[in-house]
């Protein structure tokens, strides 16, 4: 009952051809290469923002896709990390890498606290608890002095990386974001394919059995939760430096919904799905800003049709075709 993701992620068994055996490596190289050349064709700021969201969605997907836990409050880590990164860069004058680290560490701590509460319940309750805790922290963010309330933290300096490289240069900033994104992505990949990740998947498939095999599943779930929150935090902190602002939007519940949507569209439990999903959703958001009023409705329709018709998401569907 706990399983949320379709089991389409398991590597094909039988006689794997070279392409199939290395599909993920090839896809990764294509993605990395694509992101390296993309800024020559697309607006770089858009790409940077999209990469931040993609990493955010990947972090979220680590929980839902590989542990079967639906967090409906991931904006908490994303948003608070972006606040702390923005504040430490602007007020404490930290260099960007330290500011991002501060934000990420904040998210890790918050993840530890929220995670240890939330994993006490399963399934739907887990989703509701994460949502409620995130909403509580949204109110704290609203009332706290340093967040600037509705105004947010504005005019955050991008600063000098390691005190040397000026990140006001778009190219330098782009490389930093690319490195963080690819690094975070590989980290998640590594986690999933480690023995630790195998235990997570075992918990997803059948928690009682994992317990009876002697695994302390709560501890595994908590570690996964903290990892997910931390990576989400890294994404949020990076975004604050890129866009030079931190705002309430990123801690509010619609953001938690958006990251679910991104992962769902791309494919829950597929490693590339959240990346594809977040690019698709963001692109839609900007292309559709012309039709204004209907954004919410269109998002809702995508949600409904994904759940009813394409539960595997874009990448999941492609993978299914590919496997025949």
């Amino acid at each position: 009952m706990e399983r949320a993701a379709p089991p389409s992620t398991r590597t094909a068994t039988g006689k794997p051809s070279f392409l199939r055996a290395n599909a993920e490596a090839i896809a990764f190289v294509v993605m990395a290469a694509g992101l390296i050349v993309a800024p020559f064709f697309t607006y770089p700021l858009f790409l940077m923002q999209a990469m931040c969201f993609a990493l955010f969605a990947c972090a979220f997907n680590l929980l839902i896709g590989y542990v079967g836990l639906l967090s409906f409050g991931h904006a908490l880590y994303f948003g608070w990390a972006s606040y702390l990164a923005a504040h430490s860069a602007k007020v404490w004058g930290l260099t960007p890498e330290l500011a991002i680290l501060t934000g990420t560490a904040t998210a890790a701590i918050l993840g530890l606290v929220a995670g240890s509460l939330a994993i006490r319940r399963q399934g739907i309750y887990f989703a509701m608890i994460t949502l409620a805790l995130a909403q509580m922290m949204f109110f704290f963010a609203l009332q706290a002095k340093f967040t600037g309330g509705e105004d947010g933290i504005q005019a955050v300096p991008r600063g000098y990386l390691f005190g040397l490289i000026d990140l006001k240069n778009e190219a330098a900033m782009y490389i930093v974001v690319l490195v963080i994104f690819l690094g975070g992505f590989l980290l998640i990949y590594r986690i999933i394919h480690s023995p630790f990740g195998e235990v997570l998947k075992a918990i997803r498939e059948n928690e009682p059995r994992a317990i009876s095999l002697g695994y302390k599943t709560d501890r595994y779930k908590l570690i996964a939760f903290v990892l997910s929150a931390t990576i989400a935090g890294a994404a949020g902190a990076t975004k604050a430096i890129v866009l030079q602002l931190a705002s309430l939007t990123d801690v509010n519940w619609p953001m938690s919904g958006e990251v679910v949507l991104m992962s769902l569209v791309g494919g829950l439990g597929t490693i590339f799905g959240p990346v594809v999903g977040s690019f698709v959703i963001l692109l839609m958001q900007y292309k559709l800003s012309v039709v204004g009023e209907w954004v919410l409705v269109i998002q809702g329709i995508i949600f409904v049709s994904c759940v009813l018709l394409f539960r595997r998401g874009i990448v999941g569907e492609i993978a299914a075709r590919f496997k025949g």
Binding site: L245, S289, V295
Partner: protein
């Protein structure tokens, strides 16, 4: 990188200047909230106002070609800043107007000054835009929190409402409104008897109202906005606030909020606005045109939408005078130099800090029986002259103003 861009822009400008003699093209963007909380205050109505401004301007200035784009920031600062960046860099937009939501407006103001374009704020309230966070590329047109607080506070004390109790939304915006209003009340001889801070999006205000009633203050000041203001007033009507001789003063109330309350509930509420559609014949005539453009006969324009018309008109005049819209700072300088004059806000000026000044009106919501036609919401109780309505130049701490 930046240098080459600047050079390119310069050459383009020079070439452009010689190629089409005197033919100027500018592209303006209405960046507003089309889909969420503030869509009634700005939104599609702001786009309609901008279209009217462009049409009126084109009649007198055929040599200036104006293109219009519009976008939805969805009340998200990151979406707004992304759109603004893209408009300036890719779509070659020269100026952005409207932008309700202070968070978005502050972000866009920042981007505008780094890219040397023009930003005219009509929808956002933050008085920081012409205070510590002012810059040479931003003009704040319609209203701000200081003006609302001060105008309402002072005018009400002068008409006898000298003891106050505040219901304050517990975040930066509410705190600022409360602080500025308190200062105005006390400066004019009034007393503040107490206050209670309520969280944003409170449904049930009855508990806070009991506290307000117990204070026996004559005026209950609402330092909040939108749904919170509406819920507080609804509860006030129910708990018989007015029977105890108490009155609400709304510090940020739009006509759309009054409409949501209905006159029966809202009657007696005092508030401040800088523009009201039923104030004079010119406004009424414009409102008819706006309704036709908006294709909504039952809707009435807000001061924010009127501000979009007025601000855009003045911007276009300044571009016409300069014969170019390329250099944002120069255009804003020209805007500050030229006296403003349009059918909606009359004559006025823009100060060194980017603050547009004009009179404000203390309004009181009519009782249902006094309302003669749809949209007939207010009695005008007092006019606050332009030089008193806004924060004095010296007090804003705007770096552009040399003290």
């Amino acid at each position: 990188m930046k240098k080459t861009l600047g050079l390119a822009a310069l050459t383009a400008m020079l070439l452009g200047g010689t190629a089409h003699a005197q033919q100027v093209t500018v592209k303006v963007g209405v960046l507003s909230d089309m889909s969420s909380l503030y869509s009634d205050i700005g939104g599609a109505g702001s786009v309609a106002a901008a279209k009217l401004a462009i049409a009126d301007f084109a009649k007198a200035n055929p040599n200036v070609k104006v293109e219009l784009v519009s976008g939805d920031h969805q009340n998200k600062p990151d979406v707004g800043s992304q759109l603004a960046n893209q408009w300036y860099d890719v779509d070659k937009v020269d100026m952005i107007i409207d932008t309700p939501n202070s968070g978005v407006a502050l972000a866009v103001s920042q981007i505008t000054t780094t890219k040397n374009k023009v930003f005219v704020v009509s929808g956002a309230a933050a008085s920081d835009l012409t205070g510590p966070k002012c810059n040479a590329n931003t003009v704040h047109w319609t209203y701000d929190t200081w003006m609302l607080a001060n105008g309402t506070g002072k005018a009400i004390v002068k008409t006898g409402g000298d003891s106050w109790f505040f219901l304050t939304a517990d975040y930066a915006f509410g705190h600022a409104l409360e602080r500025d209003t308190m200062a105005a009340v006390e400066k004019n001889g009034g007393k503040v008897l107490g206050k209670v801070r309520h969280p944003l999006n409170t449904n049930d205000f009855s508990s806070f109202l009991l506290q307000a009633q117990a204070s026996k203050a004559k005026i209950v000041g609402l330092a909040n906005a939108g749904g919170d203001t509406i819920n507080a007033i609804k509860a006030g009507a129910e708990f018989g606030l007015s029977k105890g001789g108490q009155k609400f003063a709304g510090l940020l109330v739009f006509a759309s909020d009054v409409n949501a309350l209905g006159l029966a509930t809202a009657q007696g509420l005092t508030l401040t606005e800088t523009w009201y559609w039923d104030l004079n014949d010119a406004n009424r005539a414009w409102t008819k045109r706006w309704q036709a453009e908006r294709n909504a006969a039952g809707k009435f324009p807000t001061m924010v939408q009127a501000g979009v018309y007025s601000g855009l008109t003045h911007y276009l005049k300044s571009v016409a005078a300069l014969k170019s819209g390329a250099d944002g700072k120069a255009v804003v300088e020209e805007m500050k130099k030229l006296p403003t004059d349009d059918v909606l806000f009359g004559k006025g000026t823009i100060r060194a800090d980017g603050r547009k000044v004009h009179p404000a009106y203390l309004l009181e919501v009519k009782a249902p029986a006094e309302s003669k036609h749809p949209g007939d919401f207010y009695h005008v109780r007092a006019t606050i002259p332009a030089d008193e309505a806004f924060r004095p130049l010296a007090e804003g701490n705007c770096p552009l103003v040399k003290g």
